[in-house]
């Protein structure tokens, strides 16, 4: 993992950032830039290089007018990850996907010069697995190393615990989870998510619904509440399971569309091209 160069993707945010530091994304700040925004008095923006003579002559109060441009500014990229046991159950694929996703998003953020924050939410938010406003590759690598041996809590994530860590200014927020829980536990998070540009990443494994065996007995144990159920697999039942996942997919789409974002389903493995495609086709 650590020795592989993570794939990157290009992203853009729908919400203009309001950070003062110049960066790569259109923001609300006005200063030097390419896109003309408006005229301001010289007193407000004391930059004599940008005095617009024509505007100054036409000014009815005889003041000097200065052209100000939209400044591209940095945004904060944040990955809010579900660290419940279901994210790391069964095969090693899931953890790999989790880490790939983390590395790729961090690397992409760094390529824009944006800062990257990471919050893992399991039974609680563990400070060990929290990164705030990070800009160093090394920190990401050590976080990934720590996560490789991390214990994923066998219970649904307590999203409300992440509230103190969430940024106040509009950010690009990736929400990585399998959403294998009652969506009502996301409720405490929702009103804070509305001010951010949220990209829900749904991490599913095909082996859990599409690649189930046609025939045979199988006993499934819930990775979070440890209860188990035996199933007599047969084509009809497999079809029902696939249908129930399809229904869940529609339910998730409806839920996040109501929030103003489209969920992205990552199946089996992380692929940066999928995110790239997501951002390219996203309207607005």
């Amino acid at each position: 993992m650590a020795n592989r160069q993570p794939e990157t993707f290009q992203y853009r945010t729908r919400l203009p950032g309001n950070r003062v530091y110049p960066g790569a994304h259109a923001g609300r700040m006005v200063s030097s830039g390419q896109l003309f925004k408006r005229h301001e008095p010289l007193i407000a923006y004391p930059d004599p290089r940008r005095i617009d003579l024509r505007a100054s002559v036409l000014d009815m109060f005889g003041q000097y007018r200065v052209r100000v441009y939209q400044q591209h500014s940095v945004i904060e990229v944040m990955l809010l990850a579900d660290m419940s046991a279901s994210m790391n159950s069964g095969d090693t694929n899931k953890l790999q996907m989790f880490l790939d996703c983390l590395a790729s998003i961090a690397e992409s953020a760094f390529s824009y010069g944006d800062s990257f924050s990471f919050i893992a939410c399991g039974a609680t938010v563990e400070p060990r697995y929290v990164l705030m406003q990070c800009k160093q590759h090394g920190t990401i690598l050590s976080l990934i190393n720590r996560l490789q041996t991390a214990r994923f809590a066998p219970q649904h994530p307590r999203w409300q615990d992440t509230l103190p860590y969430l940024p106040t200014s509009p950010s690009l927020l990736f929400l990585l989870s399998d959403f294998h829980y009652d969506l009502s536990i996301l409720k405490p998070l929702l009103h804070r998510l509305r001010r951010h540009d949220v990209v829900p990443l749904v991490s599913w494994q095909r082996s859990e619904y599409q690649d189930l065996p046609e025939w045979g007995l199988v006993s499934f144990q819930d990775s979070e509440n440890r209860s188990s159920r035996a199933l007599f697999m047969r084509p009809a039942l497999r079809r029902k399971i696939v249908q129930s996942f399809a229904q869940r997919r529609r339910q998730l789409q409806a839920f996040f569309r109501a929030l103003g974002s489209e969920p992205l389903f990552l199946e089996d493995s992380y692929n940066a091209a999928q995110l790239q495609h997501y951002f390219l086709t996203r309207t607005a």
């Binding site: 069964g90 025939w215 045979g216 007995l217 006993s219 499934f220 819930d222 188990s228 039942l237 399971i241």
Partner: protein, 325 residues
């Protein structure tokens, strides 16, 4: 009644609770069970698997503990009688009705008796039969039993060559003894099969009279008369011969008649006459009979192991149906 040899092992029955917690299928972790659709068939199969597991463990434990059914007796009611066959095993029984040693197709009296008694026994499924024999001394063969196989074997055993003389009083004594500790139910019959008689000494006579009275016996005497020998009902021509020594048959008959018990004598001079006599008895003796049938202890551990094997085979098959991932 069911019982076990080692009750301590029954503590192992607690192990039957194991399948409640584990249905034996290796669990696969799954992120969220709630998303799986409800499947009644799977629940039924899972429950059956658990029950199978429980039954298997229970059967094995019961087998180990030595489950058995204790010896029991069952009260039964049949139409029949308690019959004691008192067979004469004196030398003369090995002769034919003509008094000769049997040659070729000839049938000795013993053989004829055996054959007819076999048929008689077959016709009377509910009787309790006992067999005693007598010769010089009484021979105890079989107590009163309903085991037809044993009775048949005892009758067949009379095929061995006969013994010496005829000592009827002791034989009768032993035959009556067989009824001594039996409950009074159904009619009690002594069927005396002999081809001769002997004088009964006064001591024995007194004793026999007492026994016959006490035990409420019905007596049938099947007298196989050899040709030219004195019969039961013959009167001596000479008054001097009219004594027990000279005519034991007549005197034994008189003794039996004087007992004041239901008594019937048949004097058979050929196998056919003998058959007639036996058919007669067969017809007469059909009174309701209460008796207790003993059922021996029955070991059920084999059955336990057998069912455990069957169940284990079933569970193994299920194990092979399990999905390996």
């Amino acid at each position: 009644m069911l019982a076990v040899d080692t009750p301590l092992l029954l503590a192992g029955l607690l192990l039957t609770l194991l399948p409640v917690f584990n249905n034996g299928i290796r669990p696969t972790t799954y992120p969220w069970l709630a998303i799986l659709p409800v499947d009644p068939l799977s629940s039924v199969i899972s429950m059956l698997l658990r029950l199978c597991g429980m039954a298997t463990i229970a059967a094995l434990i019961l087998g180990l503990a030595g489950l058995h059914r204790t010896e029991q007796s069952r009260e039964r009611i049949g139409y029949g009688a308690n019959i004691v066959l008192l067979l004469d095993r004196s030398n003369s029984m090995d002769n034919t009705f003509a008094g000769k040693t049997p040659e070729g197709a000839d049938e000795s009296k013993a053989t004829a008796a055996r054959r007819l008694l076999t048929e008689f026994v077959k016709q009377r499924p509910h009787d309790l039969l006992g067999i005693t024999e007598y010769s010089t001394a009484p021979l105890f063969v079989l107590p009163l039993t309903e085991n037809k196989q044993a009775i048949q074997a005892a009758i067949n055993a009379t095929a061995t060559p006969a013994l010496a003389y005829t000592h009827i009083s002791k034989g009768l004594g032993m035959a009556l003894e067989l009824f001594a500790d039996q409950p009074l139910s159904g009619s009690r019959i002594v069927l005396l099969v002999s081809d001769g008689a002997a004088a009964i000494d006064p001591d024995s006579e007194l004793q026999l009279r007492q026994y016959f009275k006490q035990q409420q016996i019905r007596l049938y005497w099947l007298f196989l008369r050899t040709a030219n020998s004195p019969g039961l009902f013959d009167k001596p021509q000479d008054a001097r011969d009219d004594n027990a020594g000279a005519m034991p048959e007549r005197y034994l008959h008189l003794f039996f008649s004087s007992l004041n018990i239901p008594y019937q004598a048949y004097q058979a001079e050929s196998p056919d006459a003998m058959r007639q006599a036996i058919a007669d008895i067969n017809r007469l003796e059909h009174a309701p009979l209460h008796y207790r049938e003993r059922i021996p202890r029955q070991d059920l551990s084999g059955l336990c192991y057998l069912s455990a094997t069957g169940l284990l085979a079933l569970l193994l098959t299920v194990k092979f149906c399990e999905v390996r991932r």
